[in-house]
Amino acid sequence: MSGSSSILGMNARNRLYLIYNNRAGRRIADSKLLTKKRLSKAGLPVPKVLKIFKTPEDVFNFDWTKLPESFVLKPVSGFGGQGIVIIRNRAKYAGEWWTMSGEKIDIPTLRLHTLDILAGQYSLHNLPDWAFLEERIKIAGIFRKYAYRGTPDVRVIVFNKVPVMAMLRLPTKESEGKANLHQGAIGVGIDLATGITNYAVCRGKFLKYIPGTKRKVNGIKLPYWNKILTLAAKAQQAVPELGYVGVDIVYDKAHGPMILELNARPGLEIQNANLTPLRKRLERVEGLEVLNAEHGVRIARALFAGRYADRVMAEEGVKIIGSKEEVKILAADRKRVSVWAKIDTGAWRTSIDKSLAKELGLLRKENILWTKIIKSSLGKEARPIIGLTFWLAGRKINTYAGVANRAHLRHPLIVGRRDLEGFLVKPRGES
C-alpha cells in the first residue's frame, strides 16, 4: 500500500513528535484533574467531578450515602484504566451499589479501595496519589450494541491543531469493559471526512465482525462527527504544551460528546485500525499555519478523506469520463454551480481559477487551508490551497485545490490525478 517511511514507528514518534510535548504538558495529561481544570476553563465539556479525596481523613469524613445513583471512582494519576470502579446503580439497601462488572459493593469496600488509591497502588511508579469521584457517562444508544459493558470512546490524534487520525475504541469481555487497546479492546478506524468506520483490529488481529456478533465493524456512522473533531482540536488548542496528543472523547446520552482525558504519548495501533500510515499525515501537517481549531478540522477533512476507490469501483464499476467534463462545485452559499473542467492526468492536485473561486465565496479566510509558495518562470508566487467539494459524473468529491490565475485559459477548473481514483479517462471528447 505504501512504503515503510510513511508508517509511524516507535523511534519516529519518540524522536520527531513527542518532542512537541513538554514536561508541563505531560504533567497535565498525567493528572486527570489538571486536564479537567484546563479544559473546562477553555469552555470544553468534561464529566463533572463530585468529590476529590486528598487525605485518608477526606475518605472517612465523606458522607457516601449522599452519592447519586451511579458514579465512577478513579485515581487521579492512574494509567491504562487501572484502579477504576464504575458504579451502575443502587442495590436494595442504602450504602450498597452494583458495579459495572455485576458485583455488589458497599461503603467499607469503597473506602478501602479509595485508601489503596491514595497509597499509590494504581499510580505511575506507585507514588502517593489522590482519588476522585466523577459522574458516570451513560452510554449513548448507538454504541450499546457494540460494546461489552464499559464505555466506548473515540480517540483522536491531534497535531498542530489538526486532527490527523481517529478510531473508535470498543471495550470487550477480555478488556473488562476498558477502552484500552493494550487491555484487549477493539480499535475501529474512522474516516476523518465522514465519520464512518472502516477497519478494525484487536490484539494485532484484523476483524470483519465484532467478536461474538454478526455486526460488521465497518460502515458505522458516528454521530456529531464534526463536533467530535472540533472538540479534539480545541482540546489541543487549550493545552498548547502538548503539540502531539491523543484526545479521548465519550458520548454521553444526555450531554453529547465530552472529553474524558488526554494522552501525551498516544499509541501506534491506530494505524492498523485505519489501515493507514500516520507519519506521512503528520509530515503534511507539520509547520502549517493553522489559525484555530475549526480551521484545523477543515484541513483534516480535506486532506485525509478516505478515497474508497476500491469499494466504489466494486459497487458501481469504473466510470468512464472524457477529457472535458461538466462538474458542479459547491459554493459558499451551499448552491451548486456548474462549470466545465479539464480532466488532467498530468496534474496531481486539482486547481481552480482565482476569480471563479472568489465568485463562489471559496476564498474566504476560513476556507484557505494553507498557502504554498511556488517558484515558476515568473518568479515566486503565493498560491492559496482551499477546501473544495464538487460532483464529477455524479460522484461527490471532497478535496482541496490550488488557486491559480487561469483567466486566460479555456477551463476555470482542472481536475488532477489525486481526485480521479475510480475513473477512466477517455483521451478524446466528452463522456
Binding site: M1, G3, G9, M10, N11, A12, N126, L275, P277
Partner: protein, 209 residues
C-alpha cells in the same frame, strides 16, 4: 597522525606487563560494544528487555561463572523473587521494606547456592541485586509482561555472552582498541538519530506496507 591515534595501545602493553590478563582487558574494551548491542536491539529490532544495566551485568556474570551455572542461578533467583512476592503480598509492607525482605530470602538461597556453584562472591552478590530488578518489573508491569521482558533480557544476556567470549573479537579489540572505541561511539550517535521502523514493527504493520 596515525601514531597520535594510537593512544590506547601503549596502555595495553603497560597493563599486560603489570600482570593483567589479556582476556580481562579484552572484555573491558569490548564492554561499550555490548551496551551498543543492547541499545541496538531495542531501536533496530524492537527488543525491549530491562534497560541496559540488567542484561549487561548478566553477561558479566555469565562470563565470570560460565553460562550454564549462571543461568541456573539466575532461574533460582527468579523463582525465589516470584515466590517472595507472593508470600509478602498479604503483609502490606512499605515498598522498600518488602524488597529488602525478599532480598533477605534470595540471599539465604544464594548462600545455599555457593555450595553447588563454584564461583566468586561478586557474581553471587550481583545476581542477588538483579533480583531487585526482577521484582520491580513484576510489581510494576504485571506478571505476563514482566515475564516477556525478563525472557528478552535473558536472550540479550546470552547473545552478549556469545559476543564477548568470541576469541577472534577479543584479539581484534586488543590489536585495534582505538578503532573499536571510535566505531562504538559513532554507532551510538547514529543509532540515537535513527527514526526508521524497528524490525518487529515491520511485522506489526505488515498490512500497511
Amino acid at each position: 597522525m596515525i601514531s597520535g591515534m594510537r593512544f590506547l595501545k601503549p596502555l595495553i602493553f603497560l597493563a599486560l606487563e603489570g600482570g593483567a590478563e589479556p582476556k580481562t582487558l579484552a572484555i573491558l574494551l569490548l564492554f561499550p560494544l555490548l551496551t551498543l548491542f543492547i541499545a541496538a536491539s531495542r531501536y533496530l529490532v524492537g527488543i525491549k528487555a530491562l534497560g541496559i544495566f540488567t542484561p549487561a551485568i548478566l553477561t558479566v556474570v555469565f562470563l565470570e561463572m560460565g553460562v550454564f551455572p549462571g543461568l541456573g542461578l539466575f532461574f533460582l533467583v527468579l523463582l525465589t523473587v516470584s515466590l517472595g512476592r507472593v508470600l509478602t503480598r498479604g503483609l502490606h509492607l512499605h515498598y522498600l521494606a518488602r524488597v529488602s525482605l525478599i532480598i533477605w530470602l534470595v540471599s539465604l538461597i544464594a548462600f545455599g547456592g555457593i555450595f553447588f556453584f563454584k564461583t566468586r562472591w561478586v557474581s553471587l552478590l550481583i545476581l542477588i541485586l538483579v533480583g531487585e530488578n526482577l521484582l520491580e518489573v513484576q510489581i510494576s508491569r504485571g506478571t505476563k509482561e514482566a515475564l516477556s521482558l525478563i525472557a528478552e533480557t535473558l536472550i540479550l544476556a546470552v547473545l552478549g555472552w556469545l559476543l564477548l567470549s568470541w576469541e577472534w573479537l577479543q584479539k581484534a579489540v586488543l590489536g585495534e582498541p582505538e578503532i573499536f572505541l571510535i566505531l562504538t561511539a559513532v554507532g551510538n550517535v547514529l543509532l540515537g538519530r535513527f527514526t526508521g521502523l524497528r524490525l518487529l514493527e515491520y511485522k506489526r504493520f505488515r498490512r500497511l506496507l
